[in-house]
């Protein structure tokens, strides 16, 4: 499995963990195209915080590295962005870390 595939898997696993806590009608679609950053994001503020934490944990489990995504303003201030956007960004971070 490539690094990028592992990142995708980690993020979708984080979505699964978040969805377990959310009511059915508030769950986040398990799809790389799901909007999570822009105004049409499908998750509220607390859900977004939880999703970011879950992604950080999933990345740590798979790559043995601690990313602090909550402070990544270059990613999180984008006017829009899907799960795939987040995956691309994390993939770049891991590459810079030599992972």
């Amino acid at each position: 499995m490539t690094r990028r595939e592992q990142v995708n898997e980690a993020i979708l696993a984080a979505v699964d963990v978040l969805n377990e806590r959310l009511p059915e009608d508030e769950r986040v679609a398990r799809d790389l195209g799901t909007e999570v950053l822009g105004p049409s994001r499908s998750v509220d503020s607390l859900g977004l915080v939880e999703l970011v934490i879950e992604i950080e944990m999933a990345i740590r489990d798979r790559f043995d590295v601690n990313l602090n995504l909550a402070n990544e303003s270059a990613l999180l201030t984008r006017p829009e962005g899907t799960i795939e956007t987040v995956a691309n960004y994390i993939d770049g971070m891991l590459e810079n870390l030599g992972k």
């Binding site: 822009g38 607390l46 201030t77």
Partner: protein, 283 residues
Amino acid sequence: MDYDRKSLSEVGSHYDSITDGWRLILGNNFHFGYFERPEQDLDSATRNLIIELEKLGPVPPGSSVLDVGCGIGEPAQILHESLQCRVTGISISQRGIELARQMAHRKGLSGVLNFEVVDILNNRIPSDTYDIAWVMESSHLMPDKLHLTRELFRILKPDGKLLLCDMVRRRDLTAFDLIQRADQFAAIDRTFGKAKTESPTFYREALQSAGFGAIEFRDITEQAVPTLAAWRRNLEARRDEVIARLSEPRMRDYRDSCDHLEDLMQSGILGYGLFGAAKPLSA
């Protein structure tokens, strides 16, 4: 500040539980004030907001008014006393309606001020009934504002006016804002109920799509912000009474929420606006 449909009934329960404690902090008007100067007293500033909103109509004397989210009836009373309006106040808070009815009875106004527990998003009000739809600071608690504007259009008579004021979102929140300010939003939701603020552009488009014309918007953020300091002063002055009515954690949440809202308004994220719109004569 995102918001789901099912939480509407929670809003009613929330207001039932806090109404008595809030009167100690907000006075009889459960809304922001319009401060002509920061040191102005809260009661006259909240009355000013009613006057400023009325000016956007203006409200013709003797109008029939539907007050949506009527609090404990103070704006209805002011509209009657100043303009002889006949007002029907509706709210989803049982406790608020109970206090509004007591006020009307005490003042001998039960014939002209009528208060009912009704959800505007699920009502049986006949079409073309009111001259004025008056919506003070309740729209942010309604998840489906497109449905709200359609219902307000329906219940107004042709040439009727909608007058609405509320918190507005002055810029889109990035994911970074949401994460960094998640604690602020959580405290505000706990204090004021789960809300969804929208931009002036969103309101304008929702009003247009419902059929309204002559849409006006006035940003009064600067005049509204001093309300938060006034609430904090009342809270500190009546701290023990507030704790007795609300509990200590709720008192702290309220105080913190005043700080958070002030910060969000001064950071240009949230603001306060007045909207006026008219139902065309031909509708």
